[in-house]
């Protein structure tokens, strides 16, 4: 149907390798920055790569059934799909074929993959983790939607490449007051999507020992770590494209992504953890109110 033109195929392969590598480096930056905030030396930047290699190199691998294996594979596949539909710097990849809503939904799909696998492991802790993950997702869906609607209404188009073009002409989204509110809302939701501190109810390390990922070891955990890395890269790119005007080349995009990451890290290293119904109440109070104001301003 579509002629296989080798330019896109090479771009895709190059982008996947670049995104995975940078995703791991972002996780390394995350751990290093949190360590430096606590006046510790902190691990080397490439530590997540080492962790994933060690997990992949495990000599034994355990599984609770077919769906237990399918979960992480589906999560990583969905994240790679989401990544390839975002216009990253000057590479358009497939972004001309999909728009904001499709990418927003593709970024939600890995959650289903992880939940699928975690549920089939039959462990009570992972069941509690699944319950919390779903409730967080339900809670953040409304503000997340409102922020996206505000952007679309302001720029009048769903296509990400068009939004980037408009931003390069009229200036970044955050310069518009209404979209600044949407920026705040999206940043809170971004914190929950990555599972960083105030909202790491899903994998609450002390309470329910790693939440859904509890029964994952060896190569399943390696898959989940790679998925987290690619998701980190995809979501920071999505954030940059929507609010910080995308980027003409990779370096500029990298700077914007790291800036967004540092906002999340600083918030994460300060706040204690919400309980799940506090998080739900919080998401339906402040981010939703700000989101509604932003949406009404841009109508």
């Amino acid at each position: 149907m579509i002629g296989i033109d080798w330019k896109i195929v090479l771009e895709v392969i190059g982008m996947l390798i670049y995104a995975t590598f940078m995703g791991f480096i972002f996780m390394g930056i995350e751990r290093k920055a949190m360590a430096r905030i606590q006046r510790r030396v902190g691990p080397p930047l490439y530590q997540p790569i080492l962790d994933t290699l060690k997990l992949l190199g495990k000599k034994e691998s355990v599984s609770h059934g077919l769906i237990y294996d399918f979960g992480p594979v589906f999560a990583l596949g969905a994240t790679i799909t989401a990544l390839l539909f975002i216009p990253i710097a000057n590479f358009q990849l497939f972004s001309s074929n999909a728009d904001l809503i499709v990418v927003a939904y593709l970024l939600e799909v890995p959650m289903l993959g992880i939940m699928l696998g975690a549920m089939s492991s039959g462990n009570p802790y992972s069941a509690v983790g699944v319950q919390r993950g779903l409730l967080t997702m339900v809670a953040m869906q409304l503000p997340y939607g409102l922020a996206l609607i505000a952007i679309v209404q302001h720029w009048g188009s769903f296509k990400l490449s068009e939004i980037v073009a408009l931003q390069s002409v009229h200036g970044w989204s955050i310069t518009v007051p209404a979209l600044l509110l949407a920026f705040i809302v999206f940043d809170i939701v971004f914190q929950a999507m990555l599972g960083l501190e105030p909202f790491d109810i899903i994998t609450a390390p002390a309470e329910i020992s790693m939440g859904p990922m509890l029964e994952y070891g060896g190569k399943h955990a390696a898959l989940l770590f790679t998925q987290h890395a690619v998701q980190l890269f995809a979501e920071t790119a999505f954030f940059a494209v929507l609010f910080l005007g995308g980027a003409s080349n990779l370096i500029e995009l990298l700077i914007k992504q790291i800036a967004v990451l540092f906002i999340a890290i600083f918030v994460a290293s300060i706040y204690p953890r919400f309980t799940i119904d506090q998080a739900a109440k919080f998401f339906w109070k402040w981010p939703t109110i700000i989101g509604i104001i932003a949406v009404l301003l841009t109508v």
Partner: protein, 195 residues
Amino acid sequence: MSERNDDFITYELQEFKLFEPLFRWARKKSLWIVAFCTGCGGIEMPPLATARYDFERFGIMPNPAPRMGDLFLITGYVTPKTLKRIIITYEMMQDPKYVMIHGSCPINGGVYWDSYNVVKQFDKYLPVDVAIAGCMPRPEAVMDGIMEIMRKIESGKADGWKRYRDNYEWYKKNQDELFGEGWREKEGKRWLAWI
């Protein structure tokens, strides 16, 4: 329940020919500690993660899930009741796994040498890679132990898990001798009333 363990032993392992040196380096540089503080030394581990000693420099991170963890710290005296949990958690960990025992109690019973409730020699029940002397060793001694286990992994001598697989019958005999045959069933039934 006991026959289920045998397949856990007879299951063949994955030998990575090409990337073995890379994986060995990765295993050395990223050890994850199973956050299961067994005895009185559990409180000795957090100082290692604080700003002064910071074992995260070496890529060590406490991890609550045994499936992902590979370094198991036995800190302090080991009572039979805790030993049952340690054995179950140890068997859940995935294969290249290492055990490090802190303090003299797991080595030879230490101060509780004559107590009915403390296991005298931990080594009879689970293979040990590095033992650190001292009635709760100071963080410097523990860091030295960590250095030691990293050197052993690098040189391939940290083969506690291989020893466990090879002479599993001997370990199992000792365990059954202490707890009695089929102790997992009995233990599970005993706590059923409370769950």
